[in-house]
């Protein structure tokens, strides 16, 4: 089991934040090839708890982002946390009618392996790619 100390938390924040930002950069690039979708960084997801304060860390801020279609907010990307049971990282793609997960299935030191967990009973899993991500956005938009 992982030992949690201040250095462990700080390292995890650095690695996790970089992975999330790298993913947003990739999605931003994919969306830039479309005429109507765009990604805009939004207010961070803030994690606070007593355990963090014991290590002198008041809060963790994880980058979040919004996806617009023709200037209308379509969906938001919100990280679930940095210590996720069942995944390395997870980002929720939330919208009015659908909830889709982006899940990093890599181990700590490996390169990210992002998958899409679709809303249909959460059983359909596909690799995160430009084509698959745009398909998801088109389904959300229906």
């Amino acid at each position: 089991m992982e030992t949690i100390d201040k250095q462990h938390i700080l390292n995890r924040i650095d690695v996790g934040t970089k992975r999330i930002n790298d993913l947003y950069t990739l999605i931003e690039k994919w969306l830039s090839t479309t005429n109507n979708y765009r990604l805009v960084k939004s207010k961070s997801v803030v994690l606070k708890d007593n355990l963090l304060q014991n290590y002198g860390i008041s809060k963790i801020q994880l980058p979040a982002a919004d996806i617009y279609k023709n200037n209308t907010l379509l969906a938001s990307l919100k990280p679930k946390g940095l210590w996720v049971i069942g995944a390395n990282l997870r980002i929720d793609l939330i919208s009015r009618s659908k909830l889709v997960f982006l899940r990093d299935e890599s181990k700590d030191q490996e390169k990210p392996k992002w998958k899409i967990i679709h809303d249909k009973n959460r059983q359909e899993i596909t690799t995160l790619s430009e084509k698959n991500f745009l398909k998801v956005l088109n389904r959300i938009n229906k």
């Binding site: 969906a75 938001s76 049971i85 069942g86 919208s95």
Partner: protein
């Protein structure tokens, strides 16, 4: 449909519903409401993880009890029966730890044993209120459903 599958359906309905409310609050700039819904989803994750784990735990204990009874009924040689009598005696007096039940069904150190052991450790962390732990319930339900159906003797 087994109990883990039933729990998954109820959990998913609740999570979907609150995710939709979280998005509505976010789209209107209602930050406090958005945080509330995010927090409710996290509490829901923790609650269903603990409930689902207890159901898996029950299943593991039941299958192990069936294994012990089967061994006592079907083995003929005293040299084997004596070991199972001791196990039965310990089990009936609640002297077997959870991981010993698991070890009677799966090979220690192999993938299923390690998976259950890791979830057991996570369960202990979550049960003591470590809120740093987020849970990907899609993975948890996928693993628990497979284990619930596959564990046998």
């Amino acid at each position: 449909m087994n109990v883990i599958e039933e729990l998954e359906i109820i959990y998913t309905e609740i999570d979907d519903s609150y995710a939709s409310k979280e998005f509505e609050a976010h789209s209107k700039g209602y930050n406090i409401k958005e945080n509330e819904f995010q927090n409710i989803r996290s509490i829901n994750d923790h609650s269903y993880f603990l409930i689902a784990f207890t159901r898996l735990e029950d299943r593991i204990k039941t299958v192990t009890q069936n294994l012990i009874d089967s061994k006592l009924q079907n083995l003929n040689s005293w040299s084997y029966i004596r070991v199972w009598r001791i196990i039965k005696n310990r089990e009936s007096r609640d002297r077997l730890s959870f991981l010993e039940y698991v070890e009677l069904l799966t090979e220690k150190g192999q993938s299923d044993y390690n998976l259950i052991r890791d979830y057991y450790n996570d369960r202990n962390i979550v049960a003591h209120g470590n809120s740093l732990r987020s849970i990907d319930m899609a993975t948890v339900f996928q693993d628990f459903k497979r284990l619930y159906n596959d564990l046998s003797f």
